[in-house]
């Protein structure tokens, strides 16, 4: 029996879940704004949101590492506020992953909100619904598939990240040592058996999740009462 440390697996799942939750909270207003604004800033914001798609993760990781440092743009205020550092911590990883996976959540939501369009929203307002009410009772249910896609892509993308995590998180067991880095470690130390098990596990897990989501998406009744 191979001695396998499952810690990185749980850590990875925690990281991906936390990241998706943060991304939904942050990404929804951004996507909403992108879908309905007529501001000229729209194109600029769209480009910024899409940056992580084209940037090498190490570039993003490098800048985030600097920003998260005790004297960095984000790390400084964070330390003043909470008394702890941001770099090489789980919180730092969640934050970094949020930047890294942002486009994978914002873009599907943006598309979904655009598909909903202004018309049903106006109809809801004329029926006495406030804007927030309209968002939860009309826009969100109508954009449900966009949400599903956003959750899956955000989760999966965070699951697979390596470069950013390595730069920002380091490799601290139980704190920042996620699955992809554990696999890398195993390969480095020629522990192919462990590497195989983790890799195959991740592969299978990813496949099952995607399969479940796509079939659910196809059968998902738009009808919710």
């Amino acid at each position: 029996m191979v001695d396998l440390d499952l810690g990185p697996l749980w850590l990875t799942l925690q990281l991906a879940s936390a990241t998706v939750i943060v991304l939904l909270l942050v990404g929804t207003p951004i996507a909403w704004w992108l879908a309905f604004t007529s501001s000229r800033l729209r194109t600029i914001v769209e480009a910024i949101v899409a940056l992580p798609i084209v940037l090498p993760p190490t570039v993003l990781g490098f800048y985030l590492l600097i920003a998260f440092g005790p004297h960095g743009l984000i790390g400084g205020p964070w330390k003043d506020l909470t008394g702890s550092a941001l770099s090489f911590t789980f919180t730092g990883l969640v934050l970094a992953s949020t930047f890294y996976s942002l486009p994978f959540v914002v873009q599907p939501l943006h598309g979904a909100f655009e598909a909903v369009g202004k018309k049903p929203l106006e109809a809801a307002w004329t029926l006495g619904a406030s804007k927030l009410d309209t968002f939860f009772t009309v826009a969100s249910p109508m954009a449900i598939r966009g949400y599903l896609t956003a959750i899956v892509l955000g989760f999966a993308h965070t699951l697979g990240e390596f470069g950013v995590v390595l730069m920002v998180g380091g490799n601290i067991p139980g704190h920042t040592k996620v699955l992809s880095i554990a696999i890398y470690d195993h390969v480095e130390t020629l522990e192919y058996a462990q590497a195989h098990m983790l890799s195959a596990g991740l592969l299978l897990f990813s496949f099952i999740v995607l399969l479940a989501v796509y079939s659910a998406n196809r059968r998902l009744p738009l009808h919710v009462t």
């Binding site: 018309k119 106006e122 109809a123 307002w125 004329t126 006495g128 919710v224």
Partner: protein
């Protein structure tokens, strides 16, 4: 009497709307004008979907907008029902849930229209458990009307609600809209570019051209106003006459309609005696005879008339419009040559020959 008063001024890159409106808030108030004249924009301003920086909107004593005092009641807090061109039903909710959407958000004290009433008037009982996508366009629009009504609005705005439907469906829905006024007593502002619909429905009409109101008033008056004739397409120019069915002449296949100035004979109408019918007498179908003809005429409808007004004479145009009084206003288009030959002048007693009576679209078969 309840009154709707509104002033708006909004500028878009290609379009300027400057409207001042004061109409009695009862019955169906039709806003008519060609495409792009600002009808829909006016409606959006009334609802509060567009906000004009200088504007006001007062219905009875409710001030919904008064920019000079910084008042702008948000749309969701106005008691306004809105029926759009497209039904805009919520696809994730079934018909019942769609109908409930606005009802649930209306305070109990202001709800005076019930689901049962709406279902009955619009005949949508059997659609309740279906999803909007499975309904026909006409059914969807009926549900949309019901959904708006269930907020028990003080004003119902309808933006060309029939324009996306084919003729068959239009005919199917028109009677429902006509019933709204009598059943629910909610003033309706009805935007349309279809004169048939307006003649069929409206009590008051507002004519809009290039973003301004060029005429408004009771529909019979507006349609017999000579100075507004350029706003009405030539083949639609003609006075409206409210009649009641007086007699069915089975032998000759005719229906006799009574109106304030006498009777009109029209081809048989499948209507009950006493039923009200608004007809239009097109100006081009009316000719004028200076005295009672001593010869026989094949024209059935020959009515005593008084010349009220001679329309503006345009040298480049061979025709001129004459406004007559036959107990109600009547328009006639004659040639300038005839005008000279008959030496028509206001106050003159003449006879009007009506070749045909155009009946409202619902009865055209």
């Amino acid at each position: 009497m309840s009154q709707l008063a509104a002033n708006f001024e909004v500028t878009f890159p290609t379009f300027h709307l400057k409207v001042s409106l004061a109409v009695p808030a009862e019955g169906i108030i039709a806003v008519f004008g060609p495409s792009g004249c600002g009808k829909s924009t006016l409606l959006r301003c009334l609802a509060g979907l567009e906000r004009s920086s200088s504007g006001s909107m007062v219905l009875n004593s409710h001030i919904w907008q008064d920019e000079s005092h910084g008042i702008f009641v948000p749309l969701s807090q106005r008691s306004i029902g809105y029926v759009f061109q497209e039904p805009r039903l919520f696809p994730h909710l079934n018909v019942r849930a769609n109908l409930h959407y606005g009802w649930k958000r209306t305070s109990e004290s202001t709800r005076h229209i019930t689901l049962e009433q709406v279902i009955h008037v619009l005949d949508i009982e059997r659609l309740l458990d279906r999803l909007p996508q499975s309904l026909s366009g006409g059914e969807q629009q009926r549900v949309a009307i019901g959904r708006a009504l269930l907020t028990s609005p003080q004003l119902l705005l309808m933006d060309e609600p029939l324009s996306s439907l084919d003729l068959q469906r239009k005919r199917e829905i028109l009677p429902f809209i006509r019933r709204l006024d009598s059943e629910f007593h909610i003033p309706i502002i009805y935007v349309s570019h279809d004169l048939h619909e307006i003649i069929e429905l409206a009590k008051t009409v507002v004519l809009l051209k290039e973003g301004t109101v060029v005429g408004s008033g009771p529909i019979e008056e507006v349609f017999s106003q000579l100075d507004l004739r350029h706003l009405i397409p030539e083949n639609h120019l003609g006075a409206l006459v409210d009649t009641t069915v007086a007699e069915q002449d089975q032998k000759f296949g005719l229906t006799k309609l009574a109106f304030s100035g006498g009777h009109l004979h029209v081809p048989h109408q499948p209507r009950q005696i006493g039923e009200r019918l608004r007809v239009q007498i097109l100006a081009k179908d009316v000719s004028i005879i200076s005295s009672q003809p001593s010869f026989q005429t094949s024209v059935l409808n020959l009515l005593e008339a008084t010349v009220i007004e001679i329309g503006k004479i345009n040298i480049e145009h061979p025709f001129v419009e004459i406004k007559l009084d036959i107990g109600c206003p009547l328009l006639a288009t004659i040639t300038r040559k005839s005008l000279t030959a008959l030496q028509l002048h206001p106050g003159q007693r003449v006879h009007a020959q009506i070749k045909a009576v155009a009946l409202n679209p619902e009865t055209h078969h």
